[in-house]
Amino acid sequence: MAKEVNTNKEVKLEVNNLQISFRTANGKVQAVRDISFKLYKGETLAIVGESGSGKSVTTRAMLGILAGNAIKEGGEIIYDGQDLMKISEEDFHRIRGDKIAMIFQDPLSSLNPIMRVGNQMTEAMLIKGKLSQKEARRDFNDALKRLNECMNAAGGNEKENTEKCEAFNKFEVCHLKLENEYNRAHEAASDALKGIEDLLFEIEKHAATKLVPDLRSICKLSAASVERYVVFGRAQELKGHISALRRLAHVPAHYKAKRFALSLLQKQAKPWQFDEAAICEHLNAVRAILTEAVAFEKPNFFAMGYYLTFGEKTLPDMSVAELNVYLRKYLDEKFMLDFIGRAKEGLRYSHEVSTAKKKEALETFERLKPVFMKETLDKKEVFAAAKELVEAVEAGIDRLEIIKDNSAYTFGSSLRSAVNQYFDGIVRNKKEEVRYAKQMAIYERKSKNGRDPDYKVAEKKLVNLREAAEDIVAVITRVAEDFRRRIKASDSVDMDRRTVDMIDWLKQKASDVAYKVTRSMAKTRALKLLKEVGIPEPRKRYRQYPFEFSGGMRQRIVIAIALSANPDILICDEPTTALDVTIQSQILELINRVNQERQLSVIFITHDLGVVANMADRVAVMYAGKIVEIGTANDVFYSPAHPYTWALLSSMPDLDTKEKLEAIPGTPPNMIYPPKGDAFAERNKYAMRIDFEEQPPMFKISDTHYAATWLLHPNAPKVDPPKSVTDRIERMKSRLAKQTQGAAEPAGSKQ
């Protein structure tokens, strides 16, 4: 089903006017020329384009791994209240891999050749586990402290407020310990269950040759689930079955000898025969118990934590469903309703204060704007004004907001860099003038003396002061507009919603604090991930080196490593280009599933349009460092507007293509000398005269669909997409109709 793309969704990452160039021996290559887009939470944005269109460079900038000769010409990438174009390498350590993870095209380049695969997987988990624990503790404490302050400021008993907050902290930790235990046990039980089912299947189908290791791991997992199940009464029974299984799985020492293995290979001896009937019987019993256990309703641990911390020491004897109701009621009456009320007051207070500050900041804007609007700016005056502005804006930020107000958070750094650009420009322009005058004088002297100089004086490279000054004003206006919008919307903010969100956020952070990654946990998790990404015999593979894997397998390892850190944003740089269809489709399913389960945002770079159709909620088509078309997947595939998109669509064969493919003629332009007009004009058979003279702006087609082509200009002649594209869209529609028809019939849907 097509996922709903909601424009009101939380923005995870914002790219504004990004420009990146590379210094080369032949000149400056403009790789990314002024692109902007937003990435929403939980969505997949696909970036499509030929190699050299700047799609990889854009994503590399997000991770701060641009090559040494890159020049960040301008723009910003805002993530979590930080501008990724400006933060230091140290800060990037905290983001890379943990918050933003990347899967590279070439798996060999991202694996360490002299480390076993298992260690590479757990290493990151362990390091990041410690770090995130520390960070979560800091965040949790800061937020709770600030909430407490605001509660106090909003009025109310200070002592009571503090007590409440501390209590929250206390039982929160208790609850998480319980829940962690439960989760681990639950996980172990469901893993064991799955193992049992696989094993039974195998025994049924043909004699299980690898029975022993499997049985062992199942016994281990089931035992783990017994030890950790807090609310579980049939532990004794299960333990009996497991020890019986252990006995049955025991192979006499003679059969394990090396000599025996050799004679086995030469078919002179028979392997050890297991008592399969007995094993099956016990396995079935274990399966029945575990199935029941896995299907248990999850207890309300949050409430249980409070009950156990502040109420009785033991739980009342009830079924889980009853217990949940009882505990919930207990918690609400004794604590939660009161706490929510107080927190709400605190949040409201903080919100009101920040709104007032925002208004003040707006006034400051108005007052100080003339300073930046002058013909020539005065350095001292501007710096003072900038300082005041930054202070005003920072005061206007509501620190209790969970979703960070992006433009205001980065206002300081963007304003500073804009101002610096202007004043550096003044100095540099002077130097440039002097240099030019000097070299020109020499040149003229030479030519006057009759020695014809065989070189040319390099052109003046001046910073356009007018534009730089306008940039400063633009930075200010953007924040001002944002503030105005927020002030207008401030009355309609749903305080109840925000309170609940705040408490959920605190719970999340507290769970991060309590979540300690141990070595064995990391190993289990790594094995699970290996299995999840479709690597057979994960236990054996865990101990191998990267060179022992084939290309597809290596790529799966890289994906598993990227997922192991539980990132916020996953960047996939052509992850499946080197893989074949079955594995590609498995890996796409994997990424899709993770995307839905963990609500992470994915940026997917590829040139395979089939893959894009599978993955993307939105599609951005890039050409020569610019986004030429952006829209939802349906927009771009069913009503493409840019000639380049048409060309891409018609150049790939699909299953029904019979006619000659329409290859795009020529090659992409040389980005050392980017063309003056539309970069695609040279290869575009629909190009008009204006395409060679002026760059087209982004034309809006619908709320979600934009394209940069002059064909959309009201004065442009009406041009239909090429026949192969319209044909293909027709075919898609008819297939869709057939499919929906087929889905209506139960027999057809199974095929």
Binding site: F201, L265, A613, N614, P653, K660, L736, Q739
Partner: protein, 428 residues
Amino acid sequence: MENNEEILLRVEHLCQYFKMGAGRELKAVDDVSFNIKKGEVFGLVGESGCGKTTTGRSIIKLYDITSGSVYFKDQRICAGARSYKIAIKEAQKAYRAELGELKKQCAEELKSAGDREGTLEKYRKLREDAAARCGKIVAENRKQKAAAIHDQKYCDRDHAQRVVAALKQEREEALAACKSEEERKACAKEYKTKLHIASRERIVNRIQMIFQDPIASLNPRMTVRDIIAEGLIIHGIKDKDYIDQKVYNILEKVGLVREHAGRYPHEFSGGQRQRIGIARAVIMEPDLIIADEPVSALDVSIQAQVINLLNDLRAELGITVLFIAHDLSVIKYFSDRIGVMYFGKMVELAPADELFDHPLHPYTKSLLSAIPLPDPMYEKQRKRIVYNPLAEHDYSVDQPSMREIVPGHFIYCNDAEFAKYKAELGAE
């Protein structure tokens, strides 16, 4: 495959095993048979590691095959002796077993029967019969084995000898037809170079290969001219002007220009490099091109260019192509017939349209269900079919083999499955 069209390449029971140490073997290609007709494009698909590339490489003699044979233009170019060796061993084993049995019977009969001499005589005769039978099988297989080893080793020499003999005869006739002494001289000179080339002729040269990675397959220290002309030079052609002319022609044919001849591979884009690779293969005027994933390493727009180029060359030169790829849309677009491989076995073989319209083998179905199409609504509803050979097939009793279900459509199955597939095909 009874057809009037000329069969260019015939692969019979091709097996390619690799040693893995400790007496184990990896069956990379296991008993694969197919034919390629002249002028057609035969596609091989399968996931990575299923042996499709190994098949291609075995055909061009980059590996020594384990058993089976490959006939190219009705001449055996690859042959493996393993199957004959096994047959000999089996026959000898059977013989020994029979001897033992006879001995036992004889002893028993001797105990009971009185006519000692007669019994002994009878059993001696039986023993001799068994020995003769065994000896016949062994001799037959030994002969076959020797022939296989000979073909594997000397097929090129035999081919060259045959060509040279034909050419010599032609020369005699031409010389006889010449009138003056000068004419004779010119004629003799002409035939001398021809003979020189012919004596170096190898039949495998009639098969050329295009590799997947255009960067790795071109020597960075050679100019484009050297790379393309290398085959001709090895072939024994010494006329520089002729070589240059040929290189220029080929360059133009594959969409490059003369000026490119002096450059080095790193100065080209990916698509252009692949064109060089194609030019290198085409200049030998091969009858068969083995294209091992020629477009999978290329950019979108360039893929289309290269596919179009291959298509044009095919129309122009009438080349037969063995196209190995994992991109099913490309293979469907490009091939006439398709063979699907799974873990070293060919599981289904059918004309392209037939295969996509009526896939029968569960693996083919799963493969087809995994193709991503540029159609978001369809894609998001697409359900991948998972193929689990353990669950799908029960080959414990009934061994599978390659069977023809409708003319031209082959499938690897046993009797029960054959009936099932037939019913499935009839129902559709």
